[in-house]
């Protein structure tokens, strides 16, 4: 197991290097004078020059990258020249909101997908399966912002159950907090539910054709016991992979959903800094998001090894 972890971790290093390099280059290779862009069109030459010195833009690119990376590793992603807040502080402030959204959305996704996926696979081709597959296919074809608009229309305008936008901190009022998260979490969660249902269904159908399931049936075990205890775990690998990818992706906040529902998460921070042309923040947040994505996926790889002993002994999945 230790050799396995070490091997995986060694693979992580070059990927992290490439990813941080991209985040740095993204903002450094944009055409035009970065200092001029950040200072805005009405800036005086003096303030542009001051900004250029502050950001060390007169240094050569590789040198700037090394110095930026060196600080980043020690937990310093720079300070926004606009708000004078450090990027790390901004991320710390916004992260809990994105994490709550992530947690609630994935919860909705799994709570819907696991029972529906199991039931669909159990009677594949049946009425429920056809209805669920059709619904999942439809949901996956709706762009996120359209889902959001429709949900706002249904739940906030027509039924008047929850606020359309806004955010209340959990500690101020937990109930209002959950109400403000309901629509955004549902918007993200619906898509996840549809994707997970499809994945679990197809893997489960394959598992249910295995000999050991027939054996369990022959022993007279109750159906729910076979489905949940025998078939679910070996059918959940693709689901786990995609869950991992989605968690990694949502660590960086749900850009669109946070913007539509005015949730001050990481995604919103990114959009705000892009609008404000605050490249220091954009750079830092993009690096954080990309690294989080890679690290979470690394975690999922390790989780496989815990769940399936075949993987840590270097054999491929059957």
């Amino acid at each position: 197991m230790l050799t396995f972890v070490r091997g995986k971790a060694l693979h992580l290093v070059p990927v992290l290097f490439v990813v941080t390099c991209f985040s740095f280059l993204l903002t450094s290779l944009l055409p035009g004078d970065i200092a001029q862009v950040m200072a805005g069109p009405n800036a005086t030459p003096q303030s542009v020059a001051a900004l250029r010195a502050e950001l060390q833009l007169d240094q050569p690119l590789p040198l700037r990258y090394v110095s930026w990376l060196g600080k980043a590793v020690r937990g310093d992603l720079g300070t926004s020249p606009r708000s004078q807040t450090t990027v790390v502080d901004s991320i710390k402030e916004r992260l809990p909101i994105s994490l709550e959204l992530l947690l609630l959305a994935e919860l909705i996704g799994l709570v819907v997908a696991i029972p529906v996926g199991i039931a669909s696979a159990y009677r594949a081709g049946g009425l429920l399966d056809q209805a669920a597959s059709g619904a999942a296919f439809g949901v996956l074809a709706i762009p996120g912002f359209v889902v959001a608009i429709v949900l706002i229309y249904l739940f906030a305008v027509q039924l008047d159950l929850v606020p359309a936008t806004g955010y209340t901190p959990f500690l101020t009022d937990p109930f209002a907090n959950l109400r403000s998260f309901f629509l955004p979490a549902l918007t993200v969660g619906l898509g996840e539910a549809a994707a997970y249902t499809r994945l679990l269904r197809s893997d489960m159908i394959a598992t249910l054709q295995e000999d050991y399931i027939a054996m369990a049936r022959a022993k007279g075990l109750p159906t729910w016991h076979i489905l949940v205890r025998h078939a679910l775990k070996p059918s959940s690998f693709t689901l786990l992979t995609v869950l991992g990818i989605n968690i990694g992706r949502l660590m960086g906040g749900a850009l669109i959903v946070e913007t539509i529902f005015a949730l001050p998460g990481i995604g919103r921070l990114l959009v705000e800094s892009i609008y404000a042309r605050d490249l220091v923040v954009v750079q830092g947040v993009v690096a954080f998001v990309a690294v989080a994505f890679v690290v979470v996926n690394f975690g999922v790889d390790l989780l496989y090894a815990v769940l399936d002993p075949r993987i840590r002994h270097g054999r491929a999945l059957a």
């Binding site: 055409p31 035009g32 762009p143 990309a290």
Partner: protein, 300 residues
């Protein structure tokens, strides 16, 4: 997949002639796509034709503001009603289709051309080139795509050509993967060996033997990418970062109607439905086509 029978082996030899193998010519292939495929294709064709013909359709000018009839329902002269500025919804939908479809098709073609080229090179030439291509594509895929689009369009500009270029660029890794996987499968086949034995060069083999045999799966995948590209443009437009107003774009139309969801929901919901129908049609068509293409591959 069934166990290989002598009969299937015979068929495999027959199908192994390069050109016919690319297209399923057996009777019933079109019928097996099912009525839903033809319905969705019909919708896509309708949207495309209407978008192309927009300048000659005698529609109301999409930017003329009929301020007496703002957020009106269907009235004479405005079949689908008007938006918050009194502009004709039908006309804006049709002109918006031009932007959505242009970005969808053009960026997909760009990504498909470059991605397929890279994927074929990686899958056929193998070696160090393959490692470099695969590693670069994986790193690109790990990068938050929407962030890249947002950043570049904000700083470089909202010209439709820039939007097409950025979305197309982001499609390259996906196409490279699909093309490489299919190339790997085809490169082992007898007709490639035969071509090589006859002295064909690498470029000739790639262009005349490999390409015709991976075109079907790559094109099918391309339909899905058109949908993704249209969603990306719609999302940009929704955030106000696609082609600048007053140009009509489906995503922008949904966004413009958003503040008045309580009084005139149709201003937002009509473009939202058209957008959904189009994406749904693309997904369904791709799904049906994929089944036919895969059945063919399973029978090889």
């Amino acid at each position: 997949m069934a166990a290989p029978s002598p009969e299937l082996a015979d068929q495999a030899l027959l199908v192994a002639v390069p050109v016919p193998a690319a297209v399923d010519r057996r009777p019933g292939a079109w019928r097996r796509l099912g009525p839903s495929f033809w319905l969705t294709t019909g919708w896509l064709a309708l949207v495309t034709v209407v978008a192309i013909l927009a300048p000659v359709l005698h529609l109301t000018d999409p930017n003329i503001q009929d301020l007496a009839n703002r957020e009106a329902g269907p009235i004479p002269g405005h079949v689908l009603g008007t938006d918050g500025l009194g502009r004709d919804m039908l006309s804006r939908l049709v002109w918006g289709a031009r932007i959505s479809l242009t970005v969808g098709y053009a960026s997909t073609l760009l990504g498909m051309a470059l991605g397929t080229l890279l994927g074929m090179a990686a899958g056929y030439l193998r070696g160090r080139l393959e490692s470099v291509i695969v590693a670069t594509m994986d790193a690109l895929l790990a990068f938050p795509a929407l962030v890249l689009i947002l950043a570049i369009t904000t700083f470089v500009g909202h010209d439709i050509r820039i939007i097409v270029a950025v979305i197309g660029f982001l499609g390259i890794p996906a196409f490279a993967r699909v093309a490489r996987a299919n190339t790997l499968a085809v490169a082992q086949r007898e007709f490639v060996l035969a071509a090589r034995a006859m002295g064909a060069g690498e470029v000739r083999i790639l262009a005349l033997e490999i390409l015709p045999n991976i075109v079907a799966p790559v094109l099918t995948f391309g339909l899905l990418v058109v949908a993704v590209a249209m969603i990306a443009e719609g999302t940009l437009a929704f955030l106000g970062l696609s082609v600048p107003p007053p140009a009509a774009s489906w995503g922008a139309m949904v966004a413009e109607g958003r503040s008045d969801l309580d009084v005139a929901p149709m201003v937002s919901l009509i473009p939202a439905s058209v957008f959904f129908l189009t994406i749904f049609a693309l997904n369904l068509a791709a799904d049906r086509l994929r089944r036919v293409v895969e059945i063919r591959e399973a029978r090889l």
